[in-house]
């Protein structure tokens, strides 16, 4: 099974304020969108980030062929345990997921 990153045109993450992380998956085509929408469950995303699936907000945006997830940040931005001030790297972890 291919990894998510090989199916999509752009995968990015960013802070949505100091307490939230948001991940945008730009699929690039209706086919890739359908595959990501149906193949990437919110539960799987919760496992990747070791968080509670109930806390994740999910948006399947057909018009843009985008699947978006927002979740409480793995560490509060800039706290002692934070590893990524701008939340820039976290999407790469999702890119490894096989779909």
């Amino acid at each position: 099974m291919p990894e998510l990153r090989s199916l999509v045109t752009k995968l990015r993450s960013k802070n949505a304020g100091p307490f939230w992380l948001t991940i945008d998956i730009f699929c690039g085509s209706p086919e890739a969108y359908a595959r990501v929408r149906d193949g990437l469950s919110t539960t799987r995303v919760a496992q990747v980030f070791d968080t509670d699936g109930q806390a994740i907000k999910r948006f399947d945006i057909e018009q843009l062929h985008v699947v978006k997830f927002s979740l409480p940040r793995p560490a509060v931005q800039g706290s002692v345990t934070d590893r990524d001030m701008h939340g820039a790297s976290w999407a790469a972890l999702l890119g490894d997921v096989e779909i």
Partner: protein
């Protein structure tokens, strides 16, 4: 129709001067630029300083002040000096006075201050006037009082009050990113949903178009919606680039909370006007019953020293995590024993750059790199203690063997001394809203005339 000219996503990021000139020639009603955000971390709010160079800020602000004089319209900056504290506003005001003297023009400046007294915020918290937002940290009155800076985010109401003074320039402390763009269109009766939606699309400058680094855009607001036009040569907006911008740094791409209500763009329709501009209609503003403003606070949580070493020996690279864990255990015990600190008084962590520094225990991939950067990150109550722990860590990073049987290794250091002192570090302490009976109750407005 109200035309807002937006030179860049933030003052300090530069803008295309030719595109700005095009914007001025098109006769805008106001020039609005953002000055900051929380995106660079808690240190700027904690210290009350800007992250951008004063030299860049001055040069770019001087260009905007000259453009403002040419256009004869107000110029407004929101979240002055990255964090929007009173100290950052004063820094911006100082730069503005300097430029005004150099440009030799009389000016009326409105200054909107957003800093809050931690004691008063703690009292409001005790009185039930502060409500946590989703995933807010747990706070107590004591934590609130320990904040070095707290700001409230002004909305359109406070910017409107500043515009009503007739000022040439408005230097605002912390505001929402959108308020400085939405305020004038709202004052003039433009479509409220369109005003807030257009403001959200425009708050990062040309990020909503192709050639996102070009900065300058213009937005026309009217009775039914808005039209966005990027002004740099070769930059184009399309329904896709504009609607996709609602995703950026937003936890919810359809709903945006602001002081006094929220924007709902689920019904928005995006249409290409030509190859460059995009028209948007159908967004909705929903006013709330109670007026609230968001609070941001940062508090000091100790001092930090970092130490870095490099592992290149394949044996140590292959066993780096075991080596690092052993050092953290032994060095932490030594800190407790020799410095008399309790375990909860300090943190000591070794991050393996090139192996697991990005994701830590969440990392799913394993590969043996050629070399690993080992960064020791220490926080302690004060700078002397953080420095002392750095010195206790030093011999381990230089010579710690994996087992007692092996010869003493030596690892590469980058500097002498190897300890790098970051000084006081801060953490974000608030993600809450403050209930206000009057929008101006948490803000101060001052008008300054420069002859």
């Amino acid at each position: 129709m109200t035309r807002v000219l937006i030179p860049s996503g933030a003052l300090g990021l530069n803008y295309d001067t030719q595109a700005l000139q095009r914007g001025i020639a098109a006769k805008p009603d106001i020039i609005a630029i953002d000055g900051g955000s929380t995106d660079s971390g808690p240190s700027y709010l904690g210290r009350g300083v800007s992250k951008y160079a004063r030299a860049s800020t001055k040069l770019e602000w001087a260009g905007l002040m000259a453009a403002r004089a040419e256009a004869g319209v107000p110029l407004v900056i929101g979240t002055a000096g990255t964090c929007g504290t009173d100290s950052a506003v004063d820094w911006m005001l100082d730069i503005t006075r300097e430029i005004a003297a150099e440009q030799g023009r009389p000016l009326k400046i409105a200054v909107l201050r957003s800093s809050q007294d931690p004691d008063q915020i703690a009292q409001a918290f005790e009185g039930g006037d502060i409500t946590p937002l989703a995933n807010a940290p747990d706070v107590t009155s004591q934590i609130i009082r320990s904040c070095s800076n707290i700001v409230a985010l002004a909305g359109a109401e406070q910017i409107t009050a500043a515009l009503e003074t007739g000022a040439d320039i408005i230097i605002a402390g912390r505001t929402t990113d959108t308020a400085i763009i939405a305020a004038l269109p709202l004052m003039r009766g433009c479509h409220a949903g369109g005003a807030w939606h257009g403001a959200k699309i425009g708050e990062c400058g040309a990020l909503c178009a192709t050639n996102p680094q070009s900065g300058v855009i213009s937005i026309d607001f009217d009775a039914t919606g808005f039209t966005v036009t990027p002004l740099a040569a070769g930059a184009h907006a399309s329904p896709h680039t504009v609607s996709a911008h609602m995703l950026y740094e937003n936890s919810d791409p359809f709903i945006l909370y602001e002081p006094g209500g929220y924007l709902d763009v689920t019904g928005a329709e995006y249409a290409a006007v030509d190859g460059t501009s995009v028209r948007v209609e159908g967004s909705k503003w929903v006013a709330s019953d109670r007026y609230t403003v968001k609070l941001e606070g940062a508090r000091p949580v100790g001092c930090r020293t970092v130490v870095m070493a490099l592992l290149r020996d394949p044996h140590y690279v292959a066993n780096a995590q075991i080596w690092a864990d052993d050092i953290v255990d032994k060095c932490s015990a030594k800190v407790i024993e020799r410095m008399g600190l309790a375990a909860e008084d300090f943190t000591l962590e070794l991050r393996l750059i090139g192996q697991s520094a990005s994701f830590g225990t969440l990392e799913t991939r394993a590969a043996t790199p050629l070399e690993i950067g080992v960064i020791g990150i220490i926080t302690a109550p004060d700078e002397a203690q953080a420095s002392e722990i750095g010195k206790l860590l030093n011999p381990y990073l230089l010579h710690h063997p994996l087992t007692q049987e092996e010869e003493q290794p030596t690892f590469a250091f980058l500097f002498s001394p190897p300890e790098m002192h970051q000084g006081q570090v801060y953490e974000f302490a608030l993600s809450h809203v403050l209930h206000l009976s009057d929008p101006m109750a948490a803000f101060e407005l001052e008008v300054i005339d420069i002859a």
